[in-house]
Symmetry: C2
Subunit: 178 residues, 2 copies
């Protein structure tokens, strides 16, 4: 498989194989994240009687999951491009920083949205609002749970992309921050 000239100088392991494995792992994690986030966004948006989007916390859950789903879709395209062409979509240092920074920030945003949504869903249940519309309350819980599942895989993706970036910084070429 072709690979750009970047390789680890003091590294006993073949960088091409490692890169390919990491790209495939990231692609898989992003696919799962995309599925969960999209499902969470759809569950939140379609939960009506009346619409749960009247609650600010559920608007936050919806927005965070739409953003994460769109980002995961873009990153899947980037990963497929990288696996097929053997080179990153943007210049490598930029791509690695972009991936890791967005993974971390979006993971924090989506877990915060999930927590705010869970707090509101719980409050509504405690306040007796679920007696009349129990199906809607269950769907709200499902949306929050799907958001948390998406977060878990995004957090894993951020670990992998962070490791890729750190590999590049410590053993790679072209970007000396020290």
């Amino acid at each position: 498989m072709p690979s750009p000239p970047h390789n680890g100088d003091g590294d006993a392991h073949p960088p091409q194989r490692r890169r390919r494995h990491l790209s495939l792992l990231l692609l898989l994690l992003r696919l799962v994240t995309f599925g969960f986030s999209l499902a969470a966004a759809i569950s939140t948006a379609t939960n009506s009687s009346p619409s749960w989007l009247r609650f600010q916390s559920f608007r936050f859950v919806f927005a965070a999951n739409v953003i994460v789903a769109a980002y995961s879709l873009f990153e899947m395209c980037a990963a497929v491009h990288e696996i097929l062409k053997g080179a990153t979509l943007f210049p490598e240092p930029m791509q690695l920083c972009f991936d890791f920074a967005h993974d971390q920030v979006f993971a924090y945003i989506v877990v915060a949205a999930g927590a705010a949504g869970a707090a509101d869903a719980r409050r509504l249940r405690a306040g007796g609002a679920c007696a009349a519309e129990s199906g809607s309350c269950v769907l709200a819980d499902v949306a929050v749970a799907l958001g948390f599942a998406g977060f878990a895989f995004l957090a894993l993706a951020s670990l992998v992309s962070g490791f890729r970036l750190a590999c590049y910084l410590t053993t790679g070429s072209g970007l000396h921050i020290w």
Copy 2:
């Protein structure tokens, strides 16, 4: 300065200096995190009229910030030990994994707690509960803001400890996960 035998094989930069700089940076970040988390926990616990700990989300804010403050205190002791003795408190791979894993998990927990607390504080304000006890509402907002400030520095610490771990994994000795 003494340093354990671990050093980067293919690494042009002196590992001792780098290790010392990273340890000092981490110590500083943990000190700031400790201050903010402790202040957030104290603001939440002392907010009474009646106690804000009656709200589950504020109990979450309190618990998360107490845990982060205690963890930061422990990590400060570990960092001071490392700077003075030139070796980590636990065996190095275990210490680096411990630091990074706890930084990441606690950062996610504390941002989730902050979001849940902010959602509840906002709801109480919107519900008119702050008209009678406005000082208490302001203190609740301050507690949430302090928690977010602590989170920001913990997230930075997790970047640094993640980079340390990745340096060890990619250029170090003793722990080959590939």
